[in-house]
Subunit: 385 residues, 2 copies
């Protein structure tokens, strides 16, 4: 066991990772109904049989590789292998037990419903949210959920009201940086949605999908798209929201949770303040410096190294940070490859997920109170557990 | 005086900011010869008479505003006001005295020579480096310099050899993320340049200019271009360099200094490691995880808030971080506007530069040794002072 993990367990007074009783606020599922949608499609995003079982083609860059790989014997190798860890609730529970996660607040993974015609988005959002409620209700307290809303500000508000009044296990909504209407988080038509979420006490889980700077990542596989494109996307979208002044028209109790520790906002917040201060036309639209708004938000601890998590703590305080795993992405690695590669059907829930353990290990040097806040207390408060 | 500044002075045992004896490794000058080039041009980048004196139009987005503003009485208002702080060495010295800077390692500001035809780049690089050497030689130890090289790997290596053998006050080269040949830092033709810089013991000062994600910043003035576009650019270019494997072919003594505290690399390094580890095709090209290379570099402390500087220290150690100001950009602010706006001719060197003081203040809570390392000792070692 890595020394950092031993230290975390000692500080927490636990014998094993299995005892950590964490709450995971960044954990995805492709509900069976959603898998059916993906399996029926022929354009990104879609799922089809390939080498080592089914494969998920989610990024436009992956689809470009598809032409060649379709010629390969055994099926396509583009995209990523996908197994029960993506859709099977019992698989998720086994993974949770092994990794000390008491409660998972499930969210549909990107790209959610963004690719469907609006009418279909409206219909599927209702069905998927109902599925999620049913799954959580039967989970004996192990699952809660973020719901989805259609990309339309009017019907999204209606769905928020339906979630709030009738789906008690759905405690928030996962949202893409495109916002509703596809015009970004700073579109004035978002205002009623923010107000409705605030009234309902529900949390917006903001998550990237599209990438920023994508034209630069082609030579580097998916590594830079995921490491930089995703985090830049969150950074840009939230900066646009903050600089728009829209948040001055929304109660400061609005609960906004930023994926991947806020992209790179905790690091760049000082520079952002400085650049805004030197741009009078922007500054005069805002009641506060950008960092004031950023400190109102919540952030997951999906940071993968201690300097970043500590920066986040220094910036917003440990009481706004919640543990997350990004499961089932970043699966275990064996022989330098993600495990399912070409080995379809292996039950990944029986293996150690190093990406999950890494996000425990980076807490090792913090005090017990700070650890406990991030591992479970903050999430319980935010999610009303 | 802000409390953080008092605390820094107390820890350093100094009575006044004027006594801090700092070495500034991120400070720009448009040499008179370079100003002549800019004044003679009609496309970005260029300088022309406008409201409040001369104005610098450096970004394509600024040129777009030019059409309208040319109609205004009194001249153009696009771009930014520009005065002696950009080209006058005595102005820089007054600013340095007031702000406790003993030595400035001057560099030409972006966009350097990138916009000139190659033959002209080669000619001007020699002339500008000679100008810089002359300026530094006559400065009584107050100035050293980063030189410039033409965007051509062969002649750049020749110029590095000339700097190394004959221009003792030029201690490095400022380089754009386009690298030589305009194909990025990861172009294999860069290899001989890296080796030549390493042989000469000269430092590469990597600085952004072009921006990444520019299509997202239009609604927000220059604030997001400078806060995010610049820092993303450094992050992307250095990540591409690291992931290319090129650094495995260069001695690990190569001195690479990253502007603006490394963009967002110190925060994202853990995620970058994780994403590379999960992309076998990329990982197998590298001898080490990306963060191992990133920890070999030097970073300026131009971070504008303490959580970011602390993150950088946690990541690379205080002995790789050097004080910087980014002077003459981010000038003093009065009445919510940068001071020179519409007030041409004011001597900014007689005012407090809050952007400079901010980068002192963020060191206030660190130990005297760590402060001293960042304020002067590391820079002296790196620059051979």
């Amino acid at each position: 066991m890595p020394r950092a993990l031993s230290k975390l367990l000692a500080t927490q007074g636990k014998a094993s990772v299995r005892d950590l009783d964490a709450v995971d606020l960044h954990t995805h599922v492709y509900l069976p109904r959603y898998m059916d949608i993906l399996r029926a499609r022929k354009d990104v995003p879609f799922v089809r049989p390939g080498i080592g079982g089914e494969r998920l083609i989610i990024l436009p860059a992956e689809q470009q590789q598809l032409g060649e790989s379709q010629q390969q014997p055994g099926g396509i190798s583009a995209g990523r292998p996908i197994g029960g860890e993506y859709w099977d609730a019992s698989n998720k529970l086994r993974y949770m037990d092994r990794h000390g996660i008491r409660t998972s607040v499930l969210s549909l993974a990107n790209p959610w419903l963004d690719f469907l015609p609006l009418e279909e988005q409206i219909r599927q959002a209702t069905l998927l949210n109902d599925d999620m409620e049913t799954l959580c209700r039967g989970s004996n307290g192990r699952f809660l959920a973020f719901g989805v809303v259609p990309q339309d500000s009017t019907t999204a508000v209606e769905e928020v009201e339906r979630l709030s009044s009738g789906l008690p296990h759905v405690r928030g909504v996962i949202l893409s940086t495109a916002g509703l209407n596809g015009k970004g988080l700073d579109d004035p038509d978002m205002l009623e949605f923010y107000r409705a979420m605030d009234r309902a006490g529900l949390t917006i889980f903001l998550h990237p999908h599209y990438g920023v700077g994508n034209e630069h990542y082609g030579k580097c596989g998916h590594a830079l798209f995921l490491a930089l494109g995703f985090t830049f996307e969150t950074t840009v979208a939230v900066s646009q929201l903050v600089l728009s002044g829209l948040l001055d028209q929304v109660p400061d109790t609005l609960r906004l949770l930023l994926a991947h520790s806020g992209g790179s906002l905790p690091f760049l917040a000082g520079r952002l303040d400085s650049c805004v201060e030197h741009d009078a036309a922007i500054a005069q639209n805002l009641q506060h410096a950008p960092s004031v708004y950023l400190k109102r938000f919540y952030y997951d601890a999906v940071a993968y190294h201690e300097p970043a998590l500590q920066c986040l703590i220094d910036f917003v305080g440990a009481d706004r940070i919640v543990f997350g795993t990004d499961h089932p992405f970043f699966p275990p690695i064996k022989d330098n490859k993600e495990v399912p590669e070409g080995e379809g059907g292996e039950d990944l829930s029986e293996l150690d997920w190093h990406s999950t353990l890494a996000n425990y290990e980076i807490m090792a040097n913090m005090s017990k109170d700070v650890q406990s806040a991030m591992l479970r207390d903050n999430a319980k408060r935010l999610m009303g557990i």
